[in-house]
């Protein structure tokens, strides 16, 4: 049952809610007094302009939550993500779960993934929808550098690293299209609520 609580004097936390659904609705409507909407794992944080705006936004959010059914009202973008399954952890992940590499690839490409929320870095989207067998804890020793475009899994999520950074996720492959480009419209390929299908591609990486 969704709850709306104060998060300080200029923000609300909505708990136990379809976070991607509510976030997509608020981001689509962009009510005047709402400055930012941050989906999380089962919750949404809504940042307002001034303390005097909080009561009105709380009422608005309350009515949106009440109307939020199982059917999403904002049509989601659908992205086909071309992944080259050449990651350094692919064989180890397959071994660990007792399946073949082809099985792992087939599982990922056969899943309907969705962006639950973004965080960690601009354009870093947490994708849900992997089969439970691929829900693995983060690596015991994180890498100091994960290459930009790495397709990775950990903690029940899949993600594409928008830029090179330290990272503890299992690297299964790589993506050529930039998932984050601040000069592009939209800047993020993967925004909350976007549905994602992964396609395995075999071509070697384009030299840049």
């Amino acid at each position: 049952m969704a709850r709306v609580v104060d998060f300080g004097p200029t923000a609300l936390l909505v708990d136990d809610v379809d976070a991607a659904g509510l976030a997509a609705l608020l981001l689509d409507r962009r009510p005047d007094r709402v400055v930012d909407v941050v989906a999380g794992d089962g919750s949404v944080v809504i940042d307002v302009d001034r303390p005097e705006d909080l009561a009105g936004v709380r009422r608005l959010v309350g009515s949106l939550v009440a109307d939020l059914g199982s059917e999403r009202t904002v049509s989601a973008r659908h992205v086909r993500l071309a992944v080259r399954f050449d990651g350094p952890d692919l064989a180890e992940v397959a071994r660990r779960i007792g399946r073949s590499v082809d099985d792992v690839i087939g599982s990922v490409t056969g899943s309907s993934l969705e962006v639950a929320f973004c965080g960690f870095a601009p354009g870093f989207a947490y994708l849900t929808g992997l089969e439970p067998a691929l829900h693995l804890p983060r690596r015991a020793s994180p890498r100091t550098r994960v290459p930009a475009g790495s397709f990775a899994v950990a903690a029940g999520y899949a993600a594409v690293y928008p830029g090179a950074s330290p990272g503890g996720w299992h690297l299964l492959g790589s993506v050529d299209v930039p998932v984050w480009d601040p000069d592009r419209d939209p800047p993020a390929l993967l925004a909350p609520g976007t549905r994602v299908t992964v396609e395995a591609v075999a071509e070697p990486a384009v030299e840049r």
Partner: protein, 294 residues
């Protein structure tokens, strides 16, 4: 014809360009950035006749710039007591202030930089925005407001430095930083043992070394630890400016302007602006206390 600009002679410490910030993109993991001390930044802009949010320098001190221009310009550093005129070739230095971490240098017309997602603020967490201010970099000044100079007595002349006095400056327009800071209870009190919020408000906290635009770490002077309830690690959820997270060591971390948009540590309290600068502007070693907000 010289393009009016500042050349950076000494970048100082933690110097960046800031405007009002990069709001509205948090859903994509983009930090809000903007000045650590918005009221102080607004003051600097006001002193040179700029509207709030005009791009200016933020610095932890030591910034020195040299003016390349055909005419004098009006500047204001918050380490000085008022605006002043800088002649072509003149230098301005923003001194380090042992009592206040960040100061601002504004110029009439504002600084020019390429916007990213509608803002020229530099965000130190993700690196978005114009590059950090480095030695030798040149920053254009937008249409220097020559008319504003008419309001002052003619003070233009040979090279003029507006370096603050070497002793602690008495900057009267600046309000003193609060030492007892109001806080609101966090959104999930059940994540903590019952006394956590009370302990936050009765403990004396020292600002730790390493505090920056992303966050301020606090250490209990008397070794107090804020205890979290034994529970599965909290899920990733949205954060706000001024949220006080408590990691495993039980010592609070206060979210500042470049805070990450989501985090997994529970939040024991939220510090509203304007009291927040009582933490985020305090140098390491300072002692702060909290009180429940009314």
């Amino acid at each position: 014809m010289t393009t009016t600009s500042f050349a950076v002679v000494d970048p100082g410490f933690a110097t960046t360009i800031q405007d009002a910030g990069r709001r509205g993109w948090a859903h994509l993991g983009v930090p809000r950035a903007g000045p650590v001390d918005p009221l102080l930044a607004d003051l600097a802009n006001r002193l040179v006749g700029n509207p709030p949010g005009t791009p200016l320098f933020e610095t932890a001190g030591g910034l020195e710039v040299e003016l390349a221009a055909p005419t004098p310009v009006l500047v204001a550093s918050t380490t000085s007591t008022g605006p002043s005129v800088v002649a072509p070739g003149g230098r301005i230095r923003v001194a380090h202030d042992p009592h206040r971490s960040f100061h601002y240098l504004a110029v009439a017309g504002g600084l020019v930089a390429d916007p990213v997602l509608g803002s020229v603020s530099h965000d130190t967490l993700s690196g978005l925005g114009p590059s950090a201010v480095v030695r030798g970099s040149v920053w254009r000044i937008r249409g220097a407001n020559v008319r504003a100079l008419g309001a002052l007595d003619d003070r233009s002349g040979p090279e003029r430095s507006t370096e603050g006095p070497s002793a602690v400056p008495d900057v009267s327009p600046l309000r003193p930083l609060p030492e007892v800071i109001p806080v609101h209870l966090g959104p999930r009190p059940a994540r903590f043992h019952d006394d956590a919020f009370d302990l936050l408000c009765t403990t004396r906290w020292r600002v730790a070394v390493g505090s920056d635009r992303v966050g301020v770490r606090l250490e209990a002077v008397d070794g107090t630890v804020l205890t979290r309830r034994d529970a599965p690690e909290p899920a990733s959820e949205g954060l706000v400016l001024g949220a006080v997270q408590v990691p495993h060591d039980g010592q609070p971390v206060v979210m500042s302007v470049d805070h990450p948009t989501t985090g997994g540590y529970p939040v024991v309290a939220v510090i509203p602006l304007p009291g927040l600068v009582g933490v985020t502007q305090r140098p390491p070693g300072s002692i702060v206390r909290f009180v429940p907000a009314r």
